[in-house]
Symmetry: C2
Subunit: 213 residues, 2 copies
């Protein structure tokens, strides 16, 4: 039986492909580098999709993909109709609360505006502190928000903090840590259980090897 | 008094910059090409932002920008707290309903699934025909939806139809025609009326000249 695996374009792409390569799967690097959105494994009965993070969840929820590899940041914000089976340990970064120096949003008196690509994560974070700020959804260049006075602070993901520093922003709090996860379509988990678990176990094996080194 | 103008990155960018250039404004092409997200007009008291389409609306609604240039497609899907003052005539394209040959979604019996980046436009279109399909939000590569059997058909924008053809899709209906619009922050329209109308009239002048040629 053949499997479909959806991979997230961008930040996670290289490390996910690397892991599958270490599993001994036949990722055709040339086709992958050629930006094909759909490509076939050269050794296994697996077809890969290269998709935007939200679409990886959509593909898995609707059964277009049996397995998806996607960041916890997107999972926290998006749908819920899938099984999350494995923390892959790759793509590690943090959700942070950041703003301009001497403008700690947690100490602001009066109306507070938070800019973010992740309204749901942001709402939950502030609710847990008994706060209810105005949340402004920003699609790109979130770090410009405080500089343009669109918002008082931002909730965003950061790996190294470089973009924040370049824009003169400082971190006021860590919201949570995130990493990439393997998610599975609910029907596939029953109907293709052996094939799905083979992939999950292969990925686990690579993780254990990496820890052993 | 200085003005802030938000421009949409991508498809509309070049034609909008071209229009402002024809207005005699000092768009610094080098800085623009250097992908600066914020840059100053070299002749006028104008600061430009280069933003994602949704963010252009957000900037205008929150007063970070006085004027925004953005596609009607995004306006139809997004917020409403602004004045739409001018159809610029640039960035013309169409919302279409497309699918695989011999799979006319309007004739399908039973459950219908439509993939789109524009759920609101799609819902309105089908409601006007007395239909209530399942709408699947897709973030990227919408045209893959029918090929992967994620959906029966798509509602998307197209300029030339090339991407549709490349994916073997045909157009079953035109939903509406769209083009870029100038939108204005409500407070700016009162408080900076002269400056705002100067820009609008300059843009109108360029459009009239283009028509005259």
């Amino acid at each position: 039986m053949s499997l479909q695996i959806a991979l997230t374009k961008g930040r996670l792409e290289e490390s996910a492909v690397e892991m599958l390569d270490q599993c001994g799967y036949g990722i055709d690097r040339l086709r992958h580098k050629g930006r094909a959105l759909v490509f076939q494994d050269t050794k296994k009965e697996i077809r890969y999709f290269l998709s935007k993070a939200n679409d990886v969840i959509t593909y898995v929820e609707h059964g277009v993909a049996d397995i998806g590899i996607v960041g916890k940041d997107t999972l926290l914000e998006g749908g819920q109709d899938y099984y999350e089976l494995l923390d892959l340990g790759i793509g590690q970064c943090r959700f942070i609360l950041a703003g301009l120096p001497d403008h700690n949003p947690l100490q602001k008196v009066g109306h507070l505006r938070i800019g973010t690509k992740y309204p749901s994560v942001t709402r939950t974070y502030f609710r847990n502190m008994g706060m209810d700020p105005e949340i402004i959804k920003i699609d790109g260049s979130v770090e410009l928000g405080p500089l343009l006075n669109l918002c008082d602070a931002i909730v965003d993901i950061t790996e190294t903090g470089t973009t924040l520093k370049e824009n003169g922003l400082i971190i006021y709090d860590e919201v949570c840590r995130i990493s990439a996860r393997a998610i599975v379509n609910k029907a596939s988990f029953k109907l293709k259980r052996d094939e799905v678990m083979q992939v999950i176990n292969d990925l686990k094996g690579v993780m254990n090897n990496a820890e052993g080194n």
